[in-house]
Each structure stands twice: as structure tokens, then as C-alpha cells.
Amino acid sequence: MGEFEVHRVRFFGLVPAGVRCLACQPRGARLALARTDGAVEVYNFAANYFQEKIIPGNEARSVEALCWAAGDRLFGAGLGGEIAEYDLSRLCVAHSVDGGGGPIWSMAANSSGTQLAIGCEDGSVKLFQVVPGGIQFERNMDRRTGRILCLSWHPSDTHIAAGSIDALRVFNVSSGQTVQRIMVNYHVHKVKRECIVWSIAFLSSGTVVTSDSFGRVQFWDWERGTLQESHTVSTSAVLSLSVSEKEDSIIVGTSTGATYQFQLLPVKTGSLEKRWVRTKPFQYHTHDVRAVAHSSTALISGGLDAQLVIRPLMEKMQKKGYDAALRKFTFPHRRLVSCARKARLLLFQFSQHLELWRLGSTDETGKDGEVLPLCRMPEHLVQLKSKGPEHIYCSCVSPCGSWVAYSTASRFHLYRVQYKGDSVSVKKVPKVPKLLLPAYQLQFSADSGRLFIASARGSVHVLQLLEPGGCKHLHMFRPPSGCPDAVYLLAVSADGHWLAAVGGDWAIHIYNLKCFKHHCTVPTYNCAVTALAIHPITNNLVIAYSDQQLFEFSIPEKQYTAWSRMVQNSGLHKAWLERDSPITHITFNPKNPSHILLHDIYMFCVLDKSLPLPDNSALLMNQSTLKQLPETARQRQLHAFKICKKFQPLLFADLLDDNCLVMVERPIMDFKTQLPLPIQQKKFGT
């Protein structure tokens, strides 16, 4: 098929923030996650665990606890002392209330989702009522000194268990009084160290489960104040704990990166007496596991190594499918890199700054696998720092490289970048039009003449860019039927005729840019769109969904193409469908109209529509096999998916010109070295 000159870029110094807390929506299909930088993410189980929503962080707002209340309302609380409610359609903080007890360490919602309890630095536990449009302070519980690090409601909502340092307490919700106080290190003699109760769970049987800094998971009878069972899990702290809805399984996370499952099992087969037994150990993380969650079918853990691991419980699986795969997410399901093809520039988005790099070049050519000598090194041109505590939502560089735009929660910035020889000048474009912020996605047109801004309520703004550094608002598109959610993906055709936009309801709207009209809507498919792009020649829209399905939709004809129908009829290869990370970027090769270039974190793929699709008996990743075959024998083995897994983890891949690719990698080891050292564990007795 051909050789590519690959610019292998590893200087994108992204360090994903560690996972701080997790919250499964009760009886729902969503998982909320907060990172140490304050970012909140929502994963959708139904959409193949797609990272559906990202609310970027804020330096002034840490999140220590997340919880779902009143159905699908998400609340967060942190060391700033405020309880914030998140607007999941506008992806920002809707409103926040001061807790009044200093930094908040913990928060829990009752089973009906009508009340929130928070545990504060000053040792107080406060109750808030969840009311439409906000929350209202209700009452204080009996206060003692010692920060409340964890909280749990009894399923009947009558009592709250709270973990503190050296002790746990149980409150009566209606009277607010402490009805039990248990010293957790009462049994450990001569201990000088304090014992921190990191996590707590209140079971309906009246058992309180705690995990503490001594590495123990303990089961207490709260009424009697007696210890029922104690399991020492680790030599270091057990930081997190979560109970399944049926209360028959518990997952705990430790500071050594190990997670363990406990199960309530009969002591003998057929026996009525059940006991908690440590059943499965897992070691997926290298750092502290600060957060765990237990969904009905999976154990979920998040660590300071930024990994989110979803380990399905095979015994709960009906059949082998998407749900049965172990998933590890380290990087966002979203592009943080944009590329100026013509100018050969890369723009990297960090949480609070942007970096603009110029790629190097070579004069040589070589054979497969060779590393070519560089005649020009890559160059770090500009670093743009965002002011204020807000983190960046999105950014983009224009294809010509002379425009850079980014948006935070409250501000939108457009810069004009000029290159004179070796020097670079950056000029901020004054008087950008007032828009409904934040912007969720930015996209320049192929001729760099227009900028498209994805906004809330399904709207897309079109800005006209003016030389030598100005802009004006041209139009705002809005879906005819309306849409409450923000647009999160945009695609524009090379001829500047069409614009495709995807909102939070996963509907894809296509707008005509010539006459500023809504053109059509792609038939709804009940899965999240992870990437889309418009073919430069045929104007076919290629769509990748989170269930790994691929569709091709002809915009002029307003229908799926014949190839797309053929793909749906014959089905994609099993190995393709079982991949666990979504396609994050699609692009095309104008010289080879039948080629679609796509990638996820673990692979880069050239999809050749002119070749037959592989059936399940064929090998999907067959490149290395093909390379060993003689030319004549190859023909029979060829199929449409040409997959390269050499570059991992792949954050971005794009085609610069017909045989020149850029691949942005972020080796896990590179950012692991920037994380704080994990707890050293002895290996092999050394």
C-alpha cells in the first residue's frame, strides 16, 4: 500500500491528573469521576464506558467527594469548603454553597437522594436538603474534634456512620446525637501512630465496614460496638472501599496500588452462616488507589497513577461482549492535540497552558522501520499560559498555523501568530465577539478563514477571521428541534460547504455553510459518537461510535453510503469490536480517496474501502504476517484494516501530506516518572 514518513513525537509532556474519587449513579448507568486537579468526568456504561462529559478543573476548586442525588444530579465537595452542583448539560458548576465547616473531606447522599451529609475539617457532620435548584442547610450533627474523613448512610436513612482519626462514630439522623463511638485501634497495643479511618460503609444489617491506615478492613456491629471481623489486607493504608448494591461484595483499594475483593460467602456449601472472605486480589495500579466503586457488574478503581480500571465480574456476565472486557483508561477520550497540516505545527493542550511546536524534517528516505537522520530538529515556538484558576476546555490551531484559539470556562481567546524567519510573534485578537461560554470544541475551516465554536444548547457559532488579526461573528447554528446539551464534536468539509456537529444527545446535525441552513440530521444511533470527519472529495461523513461501529453517511445524498450498508450487513471483525478504547480521530488521504485513517490509544489504522472486509476467521492485525509473505502471496491475504500498533499510547495521529504522518505518543513510563514515588515494595526478598 505504501510507505509513510512518520514524525514520532514524544515531547507532549502531558501528565494526567490522578483519580481522587468515584461515584456510581445509583441504579444508573453512569460513573462520575473527579481528578486531583478538580476535573470531573462522567463515563457512560451503556455507551461502552465512553468518557461522555468532561468538566475541566479549577485551581481554586478541589474535589474530595462526589455523589449523585435526586436521580441524576451530581454534587461535589472539596477542601475549598463548598458544595457545588454540576450542570451536566452545560458542563460547568451550576452553583455552589459554602458548607460552613471548613474544608470538606467527605460527602454522602442518603438512599433516596433527598439529603446530603458532609464531613468537615472541624469535626462536624452537616445535613443539607436537596431542593429543586440547589441545596439547603438542614441541621448539624453532634460535633466532636477530629476531621471527618468518610461518611456513610445506613440504607434506611436513620443513621450515619462517620470515620475520623482513631475512631468511628454513628449518628442518629433524627436526633443528631452520637449513638455510638468506637475506637478503632483499641485492640492494637502500644501503638503510637494514629489510625486514620479512610473509608466507611454502613450495611443494612447494621454492620459498619471500615478501612484504615493500618491496612485493615474491619467489620463492626455498631449497636454493640464490637468488632466482628478484621482482615489485614496490606501493610500500608487501605484508602478506599465500596460495597455492591446487594451488599454481598466489597472492593477495597490500598496505597500499594493493589485492590481486593471481599465476598460474603457461606462458610460451607449450603450453610446459612456467611462470612466475608477476601477473594480476588488485583494489581492494576502502581500508585495509591484513592477511589473505588462497585457497579452491578464490575469493580472499578481509580488511582493516583491516573488510571481508571474497570474490571468486570465475569460471574455477573451473561455473555461475552463489550461489558466483559477489562478496561484501563489513562488518557481522555478526546483530542488534546491539534495539527496545522500546512505549517507542520502541533498545538498541545495542557490544563493551564498551550504549547506550539514546529516539527523537524529530514532529507533522507529509507526502508520500513528505519530511523531517518534529522536535518532540522523540532522547535518549541510558543507557550501560551492561561491566566486565572480555570482550566482550558478546548483549543485549536488553524491549518495555516497563523491562528490559535482556546477557551476556558469564562473566557475565549483568539491569537494571531506570525512567523518572521526564526522569530515568532503572538498577538491577541482584540474584541472577540461575546459568546455564550464556555466553548466545548473549536475547529478552523480548511482555508483558515473561519472558526467554528461549539457551544451550549447545541449551538455552533461561526466566526469570520479577518487579516491582519480580527474577527467577526457570522452566524449561529442551532438544531431545529433544540437540544439541551452542549456540542462536543465538530467536523467541517474541506470545501467549506458542510459542517457536522454532535451534541450531548448524540444526534449529528449537518449544516450548510453556504446558505447557513440546517441541512439534515444523521439517523440516530443509540451510542455515543467518539469521532467524525468529512471526506475532502466525496463529502461523506465518517462516524465512529463508542461501540466501535463505523458508519459512512453521504451528506449530499442524506443517506448512508453503499459501503456503510455493506459494513453493517457483513459486520466488523470481532477483534475490532472488542477493542476497549474509542476511536478519537479520523482523517483522510486526499491522494487515496478510498483510505480512511483512524486511531485510538493503542493503534493506528488505515481503512482501505477498496479491499474486502476481514471475516472473523481472518487475522485482524495481519501486518507482520504480510511482511513475511512474498509479494504474490500477499494479495490473497489483504483486507481492509491495515493496523499498526507500533506507536503506543497514541494520543494523536494525522496526515501531514500524502505520505507523511505525525504520531503523538505519550509513553506511560515518561509520565509515571513525574508522579510522586509509590510505596516501595520488596520484590524477591532484596
Binding site: M1, G2, F4, H187, V267, T365, P378, K627, K642, M669
Partner: protein, 672 residues
């Protein structure tokens, strides 16, 4: 329990005495106490003052109240009358009959049989003991008299119900536990029956005797006894013991230096007993008992071809059934199993209706050799016999018997065939190996060693001795399975004479080679480890010994008897194997059924333990020992160096990775 705190405390008024243990009604969560023999008190957790709670005064003295998990409490009166609490509370002053006249209740227990509560109690009068079984729902009382025992009397009782049979265990003052079986469904009502008892356990271990005070049944093979262990001439120690009744062994014991009150309870795999001033709770676990476990010979599960051998558990189960049924009629079907269990029965017991294996064997007792063998072959071909495994055992026993009586008779091939094709075990045919040893049938012994999972150490040792003592010349003529040695043994030493003077380009290559060789060997290999000290046949036989299961404690005393010369030879061979193992990177010998390095090392250690003083004294062993020492030291050094290299390699890998993690490169990628 380390964290003991009372959850509730109630007391009666001064002058009143609580006269029977307080029980909890599990259904209503009420506590029931009796004070002053007649006054019943019932209260709940919330009640604080015992004086103000429900009170009922009864017309007769209460012996004890039993609380059943789903049957409600049952009250046993001192006169032997039984009422459920509900019935009693309806009319507290109702008349209670006196059944047992002037007998005194010694013990009582209640349990559920299906849906009906059953109360069992034992009484005493003038040294006679009686057992009463009261079925409450049917209101039927059965009285039995316990068989008299001279010079001793029951101290403690415990009972459980299984399969409609009450098993009553009695701890007698002669330090024995007896078992009494009482069928629940008994029709003959009028006369008093005498219960016979059978001894199931004598509480003595190597001279010391356990004076039991109380005991509980853990499962069908295990009982736990609390008592004091008294050895002659020593102070007695109080301890908790678990005994295996099937094999009459003391499974475990725990000393209780602070003393106990002599009471023991057991609930959900935990013991409860007082130890000093605290209540101690102890978890226990009883594994399914097997003879192998009882004598510490549970075979390694990783041994590859474990043949299925006699399942002791099923056998024992059936035996149990037999003993039950034997009260009414003799069990018919398990006859053949019985024959194998005790040898004297092998031919003695005859089955009238079906022609059993025992019968055939009896018939063949006096037949001629050829007829005998033909018949046995025929018998063997009947593959679908019900107790095939056991029958095979009988066949072999018969064969061996014949061998013993007729010293000239030895069906070598027939025995070999049986051992090779059937899954046998040592315990199924214990005499087979001793006969084979007598006849020096090393091939059969090799097969037995490879196949039997339960050879006693004594026999293993006897095999080893025979193998070592047998001459190489004799072995050359014998067919032995060589698959365990064929892959590694070097036949070089045989060719040594052939490879004489080879002149290459005018030089004597051999000479030069020799010099070179000795140099090398001096530097790297100890000379003794070079060549195999035994022939391949002997090596194969020794390998069979190396791979058989054993426990050190039992083997060591026998191994001490090995003559010094043989011990040195064996050690030399082990050393050779060890060197061979160490040549390979995975420290494993090639080929199937070859011994593993840990088996070799274990035997080497064992042999050295057994013969160390002799070895040190023997001049010919000296060099071997010093070579062995040097080699082991070299190995230790080698591995420590490897550890260092591992570190360096990791560092290299890290650097390599760093080089790899250049931040930017332009590479060529070809997609086909």
C-alpha cells in the same frame, strides 16, 4: 475473644438462686431463667430489673431448659416430665408427672429430628444408667438401660441425630469414649431395652492419659475433648484436644495453662470455653479424614500421574452403614469390601447367593498353577464388576498367598501386567512388594514405586537397599524401564576404551585434549561429578525411589541402616544428578519421569543427615564430600552473581529504554 465486655447484666434478688442455665429463645429473643427450682423468669434485652419481668411459678422442679433454633424452648423437669414452654405457660401450675421415680438426671440434650423436637436425657440410679428419649410431638417416651461397665461409669455424654439414629457418645471414667446407637423409630414399647455400647476411642497417647471432663462431636470422624492430660510422673496439664475416631489418633491439642471450668461448647466451627478468667473462642477446621492425612502421608498433588486409588472415605462410609445394619441383618452387598479390609476374612466369609470373588478364589485354592492363572485372567477381564478395584486386590492377595506357600511359584509377567494395567495401591496388596523384594524382581518394584502412591517408608528403603546392592552385571540382563535416564545419562564411559589414539595432523589429539580436559575439570567441574557412578539400569531404579512419596521422619531411621558403601554410592549418584541438573538453565533433567532438582536435593540432605558421621570418617567419601561442598558453594556464588547481573541488565534495559524514549524521531512505516 480479646475485647470482652458484657452487653447486658441481670441479677436475681438476694437469697434466690438461679438453678439452671439461662437460655435464649431464638424466635422471640427472650431470655429464660429459672430460680429456686420452680420460678420461671422471661425477659427481653430492654428489661433492666429482673424482679419486674414476667414470672411464673411451676409445680415441679425444673432440671433444665433447652432452646431449639426453630422449635421453641423445651422444659425438662427433675422428675423426667417434659413440656414445651408454650404449653407450660398456658397453665403454669399444671401437674407434672414423675416418670423416673428416684433416678437422678445426669445429662440432657435436645435436638430436632425433621420437624419434631427430640429430648434425650440420661439418669442414674445405684450405678445403673438409663437413657430416655422423648419425642415431644408424639409424646412418646422410650426408656433404655445402658450396658453395665465394670469399674467405670459414664462421666459425660453427647449425642447427635443422623438418619433417624441417635448416636450417643459417652465419656467413661476409664478414659474411653463409647458409642451407643439408639434407633429413633422403635416399635417395641413395653420392656426396657438394654443398649450395647462399642468402644470408639481410647484417650491415651504414648503413655499419657487424657482425663476428659467434657467433649463435643465435631463431625463424623472428629471429637473434641476438654480435660487434663496426665503422663505418669508428671503434673497433669489441662488441654483441649481433637481426636480422630476413625484412626484413633490425636489430631491436635492445645494446652490451657490457666485452667478451665471443664465446660466446652461448640458452635459454628468455633469452640467456646473458659480459660482462666476469660471466655476463649477458638476456630477449628476438620478436614475430611483419610488415612494418608492421619499418618502424615498426604501425597503431593503435583505428582503428575497419580492413579486413582482406594477411596478411604467411601469405604469408611459404607463401613458405618454396615455397623448400623448389622444390628438387624448382615449387610450383603459390601461383603467384598469387607474382605479387603481385614485379611482374615478374605477367604473365610462366603457369599451364598452370588458367586463372589472370594468364592472363586476359595474354589481355586487348590487348583493347579495354569488353571489358577487362567481363571484369574478371566476374572480380571470382567471389567464391569461392581467392586472391581477391591476384587483386583483379592486376586493379588490370592496370587501372593500362593507364592508364599509355593516358593517356586512366581508369576512374574502376570503380576507385572496387573500392576501396569490397573490402578493399584500399596494398601490394596501389601504383600506384593515384599514378595517382589524377596524375589529381587526389580522391574516390578520399579513399576510399583512409580505407580503406588502409598508405599511405606520401610518398603521404599528396602527397595533402595536392594537396588544399590544388586550387581550391575545382573542388571544388564534385566529389562528395566529406562525412560527416566535415557535422555541425560552419558554412555561415554563405555566408549572410553574405544576412543584410543587418534592422530590428527601428526599430533596426538587425545593427549592434548586430556591435558586440556583435566585443566578444565580442575577449574570448573569437580572430577567426581563427571561420570555416572552407576549403570543406566541401576540409575533408572534409583530414580524410581527418588520419585516415590515419603515423609522424612519415617524414612530417616531406616536410611540410617544403609551400609556405608551403598550410602556413598548413592550419594555419588545423587551428586552426579545434581551436577547434571545444574548444567541446564532450567535446572531440570531432560526426559520423562526424570527426578526434579528438589527431589534430588531432598534425598541428598536426607542421606547426609542419616550418614554424616560415617561419611566424614570414610576416606573414599572424603573427596566426594569436599567436591560436593565446593560445588554447592560454587552454585551459591553463581546465583548471587546472577542476581547482580540481573540488576545490571535491568539498568541496561532502563538505559535502552531511555534511548528509545528520544522525544522525536522520523521513522519509516510501511503498511501493506
Amino acid at each position: 475473644v480479646s475485647d470482652q465486655k458484657p452487653l447486658g447484666c441481670w441479677s436475681v434478688k438476694h437469697g434466690q438462686i438461679i438453678t439452671c442455665p439461662v437460655v435464649c429463645n431464638f424466635e422471640t429473643h427472650e431470655y429464660i431463667a429459672v430460680h429456686d427450682d420452680k420460678v420461671l423468669r422471661i425477659w427481653k434485652n430492654k428489661d433492666i430489673n429482673l424482679d419486674k419481668v414476667f414470672k411464673a411459678t411451676l409445680s415441679a422442679d425444673v432440671y433444665r431448659i433447652h432452646s431449639l433454633p426453630n422449635g421453641g424452648p423445651v422444659v425438662l423437669f427433675k422428675g423426667g416430665g417434659v413440656r414445651t414452654l408454650d404449653v407450660l405457660l398456658e397453665a403454669p401450675q399444671q401437674e407434672i408427672e414423675n416418670i423416673i421415680s428416684d433416678e437422678v438426671i445426669k445429662w440432657s440434650e435436645a435436638s430436632m429430628e425433621g420437624q419434631q423436637p427430640v429430648l434425650i436425657f440420661a439418669t442414674e440410679k445405684d450405678g445403673n444408667f438409663f437413657v430416655y428419649v422423648q419425642k415431644l410431638k408424639m409424646n412418646r417416651l422410650q426408656k433404655y438401660k445402658l450396658e453395665q461397665q465394670e469399674l467405670s461409669k459414664p462421666l459425660s455424654f453427647t449425642a447427635y441425630i443422623k438418619n433417624q439414629i441417635i448416636t450417643l457418645l459417652c465419656l467413661y471414667s476409664n478414659d474411653s469414649v463409647y458409642e451407643v446407637l439408639i434407633p429413633l423409630q422403635q416399635t417395641s414399647e413395653e420392656e426396657e431395652q438394654i443398649l450395647s455400647k462399642s468402644l470408639i476411642l481410647k484417650l491415651s497417647v504414648s503413655g499419657s492419659v487424657l482425663k476428659g471432663t467434657s467433649f463435643v462431636v465435631l463431625d463424623k470422624d472428629h471429637i473434641a475433648i476438654l480435660g487434663s492430660l496426665a503422663a505418669p510422673g508428671e503434673e497433669s496439664k489441662e488441654c483441649l484436644t481433637i481426636w480422630n475416631t476413625k484412626f484413633q489418633t490425636l489430631q491436635t491439642s492445645k494446652e490451657l495453662p490457666l485452667g478451665t471450668s471443664g465446660q466446652l461448647w461448640c458452635y459454628e466451627e468455633k469452640f467456646f470455653f473458659t480459660h482462666g478468667k476469660v471466655l476463649t473462642v477458638m476456630m477449628y477446621k476438620c478436614e475430611t479424614s483419610s488415612l494418608a492425612a492421619a499418618v502424615g502421608k498426604l501425597k503431593d498433588s503435583q505428582t503428575p500421574d497419580v492413579s486413582s486409588f482406594v477411596n478411604w472415605n467411601t469405604l469408611a462410609d459404607e463401613e458405618l452403614v454396615v455397623s448400623f445394619q448389622s444390628q438387624q441383618s448382615v449387610a450383603l452387598k459390601s461383603e467384598s469390601k469387607m474382605t479387603l479390609r481385614s485379611k482374615r476374612n478374605t477367604v473365610a466369609k462366603v457369599q451364598p447367593d452370588t458367586l463372589s470373588v472370594g468364592q472363586i478364589l476359595l474354589n481355586l485354592k487348590d487348583a493347579s498353577t495354569t488353571v489358577f492363572e487362567d481363571e484369574l485372567r478371566q476374572l480380571m477381564s470382567k471389567a464391569q464388576m461392581p467392586d472391581f478395584q477391591a476384587s483386583i486386590g483379592c486376586v493379588i492377595t490370592a496370587l501372593i498367598k500362593r507364592c508364599k506357600t509355593n516358593p517356586k511359584y512366581y508369576p512374574r509377567n502376570f503380576l507385572l501386567h496387573i500392576v501396569e494395567t490397573r490402578d493399584l495401591s500399596y494398601s490394596l496388596c501389601p504383600d506384593l512388594m515384599s514378595v517382589a523384594l524377596e524375589k529381587k524382581d526389580v522391574h516390578l518394584l520399579q513399576i510399583c514405586l512409580q505407580r503406588f502412591p502409598d508405599i511405606p517408608e520401610e518398603t521404599t528403603y528396602a527397595c533402595l537397599k536392594v537396588f544399590l546392592s544388586i550387581s550391575e552385571a545382573y542388571l544388564q540382563r534385566i529389562d528395566v524401564n529406562l525412560e527416566s535416564v535415557i535422555c541425560y545419562i552419558d554412555v561415554e564411559f563405555n566408549n572410553k576404551e574405544v576412543k584410543t589414539e587418534i592422530v590428527e595432523n601428526g599430533f596426538n589429539a587425545e593427549l592434548e585434549h586430556d591435558i586440556w580436559d583435566t585443566k578444565i575439570t580442575k577449574e570448573t567441574h569437580p572430577t567426581a561429578g563427571e561420570l555416572c557412578p552407576v549403570g543406566p539400569q541401576k540409575a533408572a531404579l534409583l530414580n524410581a525411589v527418588l520419585q516415590s512419596a515419603y515423609s522424612e521422619a519415617f524414612l530417616l531411621p531406616h536410611l540410617k541402616n544403609l551400609p556405608a558403601q551403598q550410602a556413598v554410592l548413592f550419594l555419588r549418584y545423587l551428586y552426579y544428578l545434581y551436577v547434571k541438573c545444574s548444567e541446564k538453565i532450567n535446572t531440570a533433567l531432560p526426559g520423562t519421569r526424570s527426578p526434579t532438582i528438589s527431589q534430588i536435593m531432598d534425598w541428598m540432605c536426607l542421606l547426609l543427615d542419616a550418614h554424616f558421621t560415617v561419611m566424614v570418617m570414610l576416606p573414599e567419601a572424603k573427596e566426594l564430600l569436599s567436591n560436593l561442598h565446593k560445588f554447592v558453594r560454587a552454585q551459591v556464588r553463581f546465583y548471587s552473581e546472577l542476581n547482580k547481573i540481573e540488576g545490571s541488565l535491568q539498568e541496561l534495559q532502563r538505559r535502552n529504554h531511555q534511548k528509545d524514549s528520544q522525544t522525536y524521531s522520523i521513522e519509516v512505516l510501511e503498511l501493506i
